[in-house]
């Protein structure tokens, strides 16, 4: 089975600074693989049997050319990285249109796996759109997947209902973050990752969709003013804290 995992490089959330005008300063934030995509990659590695291949595909900017970022994804097991470089990456629709074409250029695959949602925008919808555009059976919320030889059996979590589904391939699935634990690559895996092949295209090589949505602003929310009354762990402090709590219940 040929498996392709789509993933995203996102800025490290804890390194995002907030400017005085409430806008975001991303300049000091390092790139990282969106954490839910690490679970998707590991799910692919676990699903792959002897005759299978696992490769990865991303759409993004400068992070694609960062050798540490390339090693970071390839050290998790995939045998090859594909990337579509875009200077100004588009909205969800534009990205889904690019991914569809990139998957076709790769030569298609039996299963495309997406993570639960990206760590930055967390729209949880790109996999669904890509699958729909490709006209393939598409599932989200997949918390278990296995290969029966003549198809896939997936468990899909919808609220409190757990669906067990049979799925013909090729197919597109988005897996939940608890499908499996992501691996921590060993030093050997990191060193080996540097030797794995990488193929990068520019978005100008593909037909591009016009943006259908436009960002008007991206601002940190205003902080509410709070009292900040502090008590110590003493009989008196605890009593006052509990009194205040009781008063507000």
């Amino acid at each position: 089975m040929k498996i392709l995992v789509c993933y995203k490089y996102v800025p490290e959330e804890s390194e995002i600074k907030i400017n005085a005008d409430q806008s975001l300063d991303l300049s000091g934030a390092q790139w990282t693989i969106s954490q839910y995509d690490n679970n998707a990659i590991e799910a692919a590695m676990k699903l792959a049997d002897d005759g299978s291949s696992v490769e990865v595909l991303t759409v993004g900017g400068e992070a694609l050319d960062n050798s540490k970022m390339r090693k970071s994804v390839l050290s998790r097991g995939p045998s090859k990285m594909y990337g579509v470089r875009c200077e100004r990456c588009g909205d969800l629709y534009a990205t889904a249109v690019l991914l569809k074409q990139a998957i076709e250029r790769i030569g298609g695959c039996d299963l495309v796996i997406f993570g639960e949602g990206s760590g930055d925008m967390y729209s949880q919808i790109l996999g669904n759109m890509t699958g729909a555009l490709m006209g393939l059976p598409t599932l989200n919320g997949v918390c278990e997947i296995r290969n029966t030889g003549d198809g896939l059996i997936a468990k899909r979590r919808v609220g409190h209902r757990l669906e067990t589904l049979q799925l013909a391939t090729p197919a597109v699935i988005s897996v939940t973050s608890d499908i499996c634990r992501a691996r921590i690559p060993s030093m050997k895996e990191i060193l080996g990752a540097g030797k794995k092949p990488v193929e990068i295209w520019n978005d100008s090589e593909f037909a591009q969709a016009d943006g259908r949505s436009e960002e008007l602003s991206l601002l940190a929310p205003p902080k509410a003013k709070r009292l900040s009354i502090c008590y110590k762990d003493s009989d008196e402090g605890l009593e006052s804290f509990v009194q205040a709590l009781r008063k507000h219940l």
Binding site: G127, N128, D178, I229, Y231
Partner: protein
């Protein structure tokens, strides 16, 4: 006023809310659901509860595109996101996801949502047709019109490469609805040990609170189910009282709760950012403070 708005919703509360919005902004409404009620919809496309949305999504999206709606409103959650993805692909548009606010203007829709794990609010606009996934509780409820039964009903059956083998109750899923809780106890990694989980639960029980938690506590420590996790997916909580136990107060978490009426915080680090963002703070070790608090509240 829009000509036509479609609503996709299976949950009764979401269907009532999204249909209220749709009736207010459009002259014609269509409901896609596996539920029974109409909520005043002009027509209904229904699929069976015994079916999975994954088997009918492509067909429903085709019908959606043929109706040429100005907007499609989808409930939050796994099915809402699956339908929104198919509808957006069929309508060649980019969906607005997990929005917490929306303005429906003649040429476009402007919506707000939380991004970067709560660090920022993104305001974006989408031309028409717009596909929207709405967080629960953002539209006013309105009573549906009296006349009933005029709705045209079309049933949609699944076929093709996705087959539902069985359904069961998911033991791993929780049942909590934090967005309606009046009082919430938030648990962070500073709770320090899973042994303190029953104590946090006891404390919550004493003050009639629901338990919420931070991302690491749900996803890495697995102390609580994921539905209790605060600070992502556009979930802005507005309890009267929020009591944080062992939460340092990273901005990603605080955004989810900064609309709480009064914030209480217990933490061992007196320089924890949460102390600047809380009303009443208690500086102490959770292991010793928690039993004392329980004793005092009994």
């Amino acid at each position: 006023m829009y000509n036509k708005v479609l609503v996709f919703a299976n949950e009764a509360s979401a269907a009532a809310e999204l249909m209220s919005c749709a009736r207010g902004i459009a002259s014609e409404t269509v409901l896609i659901t596996c539920g029974e009620e109409l909520y005043g919809a002009g027509s209904v496309y229904r699929y069976s509860r015994e079916e999975t949305l994954a088997a009918v999504a492509a067909k429903l999206a085709g019908l959606t595109a043929a109706l040429k709606p100005d907007a499609v409103l989808c409930e939050a959650g796994v099915n809402g996101k699956l339908f929104a993805g198919f509808a957006a692909a069929a309508l060649h548009t980019s969906p607005l996801c997990d929005i917490s606010e929306a303005s429906f203007l003649p040429e476009y829709v402007v919506a707000k949502r939380m991004v970067y794990g709560g660090t920022a609010i993104k305001t974006e606009k989408s031309g028409l047709p717009a596909v929207i996934v709405a967080s629960p509780g953002i539209f006013e409820l309105a009573a549906p019109p009296e006349e009933k039964g005029a709705a045209a009903e079309i049933s949609v059956e699944g076929s093709g490469p996705v087959r539902l083998l069985e359904t069961s109750e998911d033991a791993a899923a929780g049942t909590v609805n934090l967005s309606s809780a009046k009082c919430i106890v938030g648990v962070g990694r500073g709770l320090s040990s899973p042994d303190n989980v029953p104590k946090a639960e006891a404390l919550a029980g004493l003050i009639g609170a629901e338990i919420g938690c931070t991302r690491p506590v749900a996803e890495e420590e697995h102390w609580f189910t994921k539905d209790r996790y605060i600070g992502v997916s556009g979930c802005m909580l507005k309890p009267n009282v929020y009591l944080a136990l062992g939460i340092s107060g990273q901005v990603q978490h605080m955004v989810g709760i900064n609309q709480a009426g009064t914030i209480f915080a217990v933490d061992r680090n007196e320089h924890a950012p949460i102390f600047e963002q809380a009303d009443y703070c208690l500086h102490g070790d959770i292991n010793t403070v928690l039993p004392k608090l329980i004793q005092l509240l009994k």
